[in-house]
């Protein structure tokens, strides 16, 4: 028996329990809880497809190293064969290599762009929810104005202003996509900040920033994850749309949307492989993210 600051005896026999290692603690503490919380057949399906696409884009070049920009003048518009598994385009470039390179850019923009959107949305939404009422009102009306602007038109406008490369497109798409998220974050924060445990935390001396970081963020994490997932799908689609309009990644660099556009120019002479493969890739990426999101949402709503 030893003494505690309050003067009461503490039974030390019970204290001597091995402290679990970091991994054990992570796994038994929160990670298994997390996985259990989100596990759903749709989640696993979506995740699997998306991971396969990631493996194809980033891992593919190790298995099949080929230059996506190299022109083979003697092998123009070849149908899929052993040498060119996905065929060649009108300049004799290797479609498989181009699909891999295009996937890297497309997925990169989708993931990084939604990361930026998520960050901006959380920042703006939290600020609005935690500021005085009048400021919250001003910020929300401003947000209404932003939401009223047509997204694609704005994207075209900005795409016309900046040099078109992966980085600038990430920034443009990311910074144009956050208003919807900001509203969700703000509404969630408002709902959670009056919870008893948040009031309790305030009574234990917690400040606004601490509450936002610890209690509010944690409470809205599931819904943020779901929305981020859908956001990735939206951004992939938006980038493909821009590329299709010629305002995305500029030739000769490939992106899935751009490849689809190139393929459509030649559709009359019939190289189906130039349309089917990029189309399929875009389709799979978007379906994967939506299915993943739906799975998470299903768990979130308790189904």
């Amino acid at each position: 028996m030893s003494s505690h600051p309050t003067g009461m005896a503490v039974n030390t026999r019970l204290v001597a329990r091995p402290v679990p290692g970091l991994f054990t603690r992570l796994w038994t503490g929160s990670l298994s809880h997390w996985v259990g919380q989100y596990s759903h057949p749709m989640t696993w399906t979506g995740l699997t497809i998306f991971v396969l696409l990631l493996l194809f884009s980033w891992g593919g070049p190790w298995v099949y190293p080929a230059d996506p920009l190299a022109i083979h003048a003697n092998h123009i518009l070849l149908a899929p064969s052993w040498r060119f598994p996905l065929g060649t385009d009108n300049l004799g470039r290797n479609m498989l290599a181009r699909m891999m390179a295009g996937g890297r850019v497309t997925l990169e923009v989708g993931l990084l762009g939604s990361f930026i959107a998520l960050f901006m949305g959380v920042l703006y939404g939290m600020s609005a929810a935690l500021s005085p009422r009048w400021l919250d009102k001003v910020l929300m009306r401003l947000l209404d104005a932003l939401l009223a602007l047509p997204g694609l038109v704005l994207m075209i406008f900005f795409a016309a202003l900046v040099p078109l490369n992966a980085l600038s497109l990430v920034l443009v798409l990311g910074f144009l996509s956050w208003p919807g998220l900001a509203r969700i974050v703000r509404n969630e924060a408002l709902a959670y900040k009056e919870r008893d445990y948040v009031l309790a935390a305030r009574q234990f001396g917690a400040g606004t920033f601490y509450i936002a970081r610890t209690h509010l963020m944690r409470s809205m994490l599931p819904i943020l994850i779901v929305n981020a997932t859908f956001m990735v799908a939206d951004l992939i689609l938006a980038l493909s749309g821009l590329s299709f309009l010629g305002l995305g990644i500029q030739p000769p660099h490939p992106s899935w949307g751009g490849l689809l556009n190139d393929g459509l120019q030649l559709v009359i002479i019939g190289p189906w492989w130039l349309i089917v493969f990029p189309g399929l890739a875009i389709f799979l990426a978007i379906v994967a993210m939506n299915v993943l999101g739906q799975g998470l949402l299903a768990r979130l709503e308790g189904r």
Partner: protein
């Protein structure tokens, strides 16, 4: 741990003088709490009694500087161990909340964040102000959990709140309130959501910890029988004002205010099961409708026209009350 409030000469504990709380501005302003004075010495318990809406919880919120939006302390002073709390800056007040004043809430079911483990929550105030690393906070949390009587505490540290029963959750809340060894503990109806046996255990626990830590305790409740058992002094609130207060013994021996009398009559007694419980007709006034006279007058059995004209003068010494026609005749 460094104390936020340096000890000052004078009586230890909490002294509240003429506290007033109002909402709104200009002509729309109204008081919800008016001229409240009381003190709780270190190691003492004050029972704050009143029905819903009488200002019990608002008093607690005012003491902690956490009034709801639009509310402010309009008058009076609140001193904790000689330091004036109403004059403190927001960060200083926040530090006081974390370390010098602990609070236990009515509903232990919703006062814990469902997505944080017990260890994380108990450690929360400690890490906010103790500045401790995770391992030390965890050890401290374990000690506290044992102290408040959670069985098999070491195993339960990583459990989530939904794995705890109501009584156990209230024990966790108490542990959180005690993390920084506060000088004042405000227990806002700590046992309302619990069954009678758990209630007794929790109250005994609070009493034991109070003795060990020498805390002043404000025990907010609408259950007079609990006050009789656990409080050293009593203050009865009605519509934002104290109608009667004093040492518990004197109060329960001879309550003087008709409202206190009526409250006591509303307690069921095992000795006389056949007796019909009495109640009080009508509802307390809303803060916007407070009259200048006695606020209990519309429901009082002893009301006379003069009751409506001016608020009654204070009568009595340590045990005093505000009534022109006290039970048992004027003093």
């Amino acid at each position: 741990m460094r104390a936020v409030i340096p000890p000052k000469p004078g009586p230890a504990g909490l002294q509240v003088q003429d506290l007033g709380v109002s909402f709104g501005r200009g002509r729309k302003a109204f008081d919800v709490i008016d001229s409240l004075s009381f003190q709780v010495g270190a190691g003492e318990t004050l029972g704050l009694v009143g029905e819903s809406g009488s200002g019990k919880s608002m008093t607690a919120a005012a003491l902690m500087g956490l009034l709801p939006w639009g509310g402010r302390i309009s008058a009076g002073s609140v001193r904790l161990d000689g330091t004036e709390l109403t004059q403190l800056s927001a960060p200083a007040l926040r530090a006081v909340r974390g370390r010098e004043i602990g609070m236990i809430f009515q509903n232990p079911l919703s006062s814990l964040n469902p997505s944080l483990t017990i260890a994380q929550q108990i450690a929360e105030p400690y890490r906010l102000y103790g500045g401790a690393d995770a391992q030390a906070a965890r050890t401290h949390a374990l000690d506290l959990l044992r102290e408040v009587g959670v069985p098999d505490a070491a195993r339960r540290l990583d459990d989530y709140p939904h794995q705890f029963s109501g009584g156990m959750r209230q024990r966790v809340m108490i542990a959180m309130a005690l993390v920084c060894h506060p000088r004042l503990l405000i227990a806002d109806e700590p046992t309302t959501a619990l069954d009678v046996i758990t209630q007794a255990q929790i109250l005994r626990l609070i009493r034991r910890l109070q003795k060990a830590l020498g805390m002043a305790v404000i025990f907010i409740t609408h259950d007079l029988s609990l006050v009789a058992e656990h409080a050293d002094s009593v203050m009865v609130l009605y519509a934002g004002r104290a109608v009667e207060q004093g040492p518990a013994e004197a109060f329960f021996r001879a309550p003087r205010h008709p409202y206190s009398q009526a409250l006591l009559h509303a307690i069921p007694r095992l000795a006389k099961p056949e007796e019909r419980l009495s109640d009080i007709d009508g509802l307390p006034p809303r803060p916007q409708e407070f009259s200048k006279g006695c606020r209990f007058a519309p429901r009082c059995p002893a009301v006379t026209p003069e009751c409506l004209n001016a608020y009654p003068q204070r009568q009595g010494g340590a045990h005093h009350f505000y009534c022109m026609h006290p039970v048992g005749g004027s003093a």
